[in-house]
Symmetry: C2
Subunit: 364 residues, 2 copies
DNA sequence: TTGTAAGCGTTATCAT
DNA sequence: ATGATAACGCTTACAA
């Protein structure tokens, strides 16, 4: 493969000069630059990032560890990260952890071995110990969508608590008095924040919290279905279910329909996250949508600022608001449309309570 | 960061010995190995793949270029590739080309710069010129889902022609006589193969082929919607539409419903590709499902065999069969289930004609 | 079985 | 503005 030396010879200069041209150094004679650029073009020279990285100690690459690359929420986050990174000349490795801490550990070690300049991660567990590999090496890190305990690190989050509260308030406003929640693992902040929002809505409405209506499992369709089945099989079936993410919602839909029940006539359903292009095909589903793409952008920008030595001194916790999309469905006929409400922006713990969401009272 | 020299010092051996231990070389004294392994553990040493790659001239990484990372078909392919690659100790960079040849070109150059050992690509254009960067450098390459013209390279494909034929035969068997197809760009083999299958089904049934019912655009929801709208707006509206992939199908659904029509009562719809977890929510949609995960696995395995110096001498063209999932829907009530038929396996042009699919005659 | 020496392709540093 | 030199961290080739 062509090297910088081949180019240098062809252009009649030293390798260092070629390097300068490649790196847009200012102190190069325009004529020399032209010669070199011609040689580069003629030889189709593409520099080895491997050699470059070894010498410069920067790879200009980021690692992005996601729990489920088949979930459009995560792929949308990934696009935000990639687009932003690319703007700054950074490449992104996307790694699929499958919510599996072992797999995550392997990928983290890989990221370190690859000498990624920084890591973006939706940790599969909120214990900071899992990120030790990064912490003890001082690898710049940003968590996405999830907080961790025990390491105050940059984080970009959706407003899980607020979104959950709004969804449950919506159900309450519709008259539901027996509402269940099916959430993710208790070891992820996102799952627990959504349960917290659920509780808050009930308490604020002066309703009792029945722990039997709070179920936890994986953020996966299979788990959602199993939990919903057991919930529906038990006596005193809830009139509404809040699914803590889109994958769970899909499973819940299965479970409800499999039991011969209808949505929302027999069991109402609200969910966190949307279903991308397919969203209009769920006319019955009111959802709290996170700004996935923007979350990816924000996380990448934060990380890149750190790498550039800029950025806030204190670790930043950026919380982006969710959009509540209220969908109506009287029967089962597919119908598009719905109303959109924006929840207020929240940054760094400056929670805005109440909001117009509390005033929701849309007919279903 | 800890280097091999630190480990060597700590273990009281030379760096080469550490290298031997890391690489599981056989000629290392068990006691020495133990010492070294302990030093590695104590220091938490993770070797630099950057330095390793520079010296060994192998990065143990593959580049995977996909047109749309938010489409579950592609993410499923990606998982197949990753799982297989990981088994062999290879990392995978996933790159999102967005069906944009310029973006693809940049990613190819990046892949070469990164010195990826091999490239898996669903080319956004069937002209081999776009892959020149790879070809002229002898980078081992496998195309996925799409063929290219002008470079006989390894390829792993779904049976687009057969799947399309089966879908259209299904519509014909149901009595449809005016069937439209909305396909992808004419410059992708997949789009054209599906149009070919469509034509074949019509011709075999002795039906006329009306070029006005053949529309082409992007493999995207927006394109599908626009094309379907213009199709439905024209006089002599088709009674059925064949959408050449899942993204197009979503747009078509939009267009049909927006026109106040129902599916399938007013306009029937069949599509290539499924919708992953959400598939059961499309009770009206008969689809030809490609074995996406297996396609990814097969492509990765083929590439890795090449890298290992094994594999067939001639470029291989592996064509995997599609599953036809026939879904029924008399009304608009959500209903799960359906029938599954397997199309015969096809490898390397050994097309199996006819098959039991021709005998399809399921009521809708 | 272990070690020494050299080099992979680039860039940092210093010199001119 | 340009070049000479060394070094990044590892593995290959060869020697002991």
């Amino acid at each position: 493969m062509t090297t910088i030396i081949d180019v240098a010879r062809r252009a009649g200069v030293s390798p260092v000069t070629v390097s300068r041209v490649m790196n847009r150094a200012p102190n190069v004679n325009p004529e020399t630059r032209a010669k070199v650029e011609q040689a580069i073009a003629e030889l189709g020279y593409l520099p080895s990032t491997v050699a470059r990285s070894l010498r410069s100690k920067r790879t200009r690459s980021l690692a992005l560890l996601l729990p489920d690359i088949t979930n459009t929420f995560w792929t949308t986050v990934a696009r935000g990260v990639e687009d932003t990174a690319q703007t700054f000349g950074y490449a992104v490795f996307v790694c699929n952890t499958d919510e599996d801490c072992q797999k995550q550990q392997r990928y983290l070690e890989l990221a370190v071995s690859q000498r990624a300049d920084g890591v973006l991660i939706a940790p599969c567990h909120n214990d900071a110990a899992a990120l030790r590999v990064l912490r003890e090496r001082g690898v710049p890190t940003v968590t996405v969508d999830r907080r961790i305990e025990g390491w105050d690190v940059d984080a970009v989050l959706g407003d899980s608590t607020g979104g959950a509260r709004a969804l449950v308030q919506h159900l309450i406003a519709l008259g539901h008095r027996r509402i269940a929640v099916i959430s993710g693992p208790a070891t992820t902040s996102t799952a627990e924040d959504r349960v917290t929002g659920y509780r808050e809505a009930l308490v604020q409405a002066g309703m009792p919290v029945d722990d039997n209506l709070i179920r936890r499992g994986q953020f996966k369709a299979g788990a959602g279905e199993a939990l919903a089945r057991s919930l529906l099989a038990a006596g005193n079936c809830p009139s509404a279910i809040f699914a803590a993410n889109n994958a769970i919602a899909l499973g819940v839909i299965d479970a409800i329909l499999a039991g011969g029940r209808r949505i929302p006539q027999d069991v109402a359903l609200v969910a966190f996250d949307d279903f991308a292009d397919a969203s209009h095909l769920f006319p019955f589903l009111t959802v709290a949508v996170q700004p996935a793409y923007e979350m990816g952008c924000a996380a990448a920008r934060l990380l890149l600022e750190r790498l550039a030595g800029a950025g806030p001194v204190q670790p930043a916790h950026i919380v982006l608001p969710c959009r509540l999309i209220v969908r109506h469905s009287c029967g089962s006929r597919l119908r598009t449309g719905g109303e959109t409400l924006s929840l207020p922006l929240m940054v760094e713990g400056s929670k805005v309570e109440g909001s117009k969401v509390a005033g929701l009272n849309v007919d279903a």
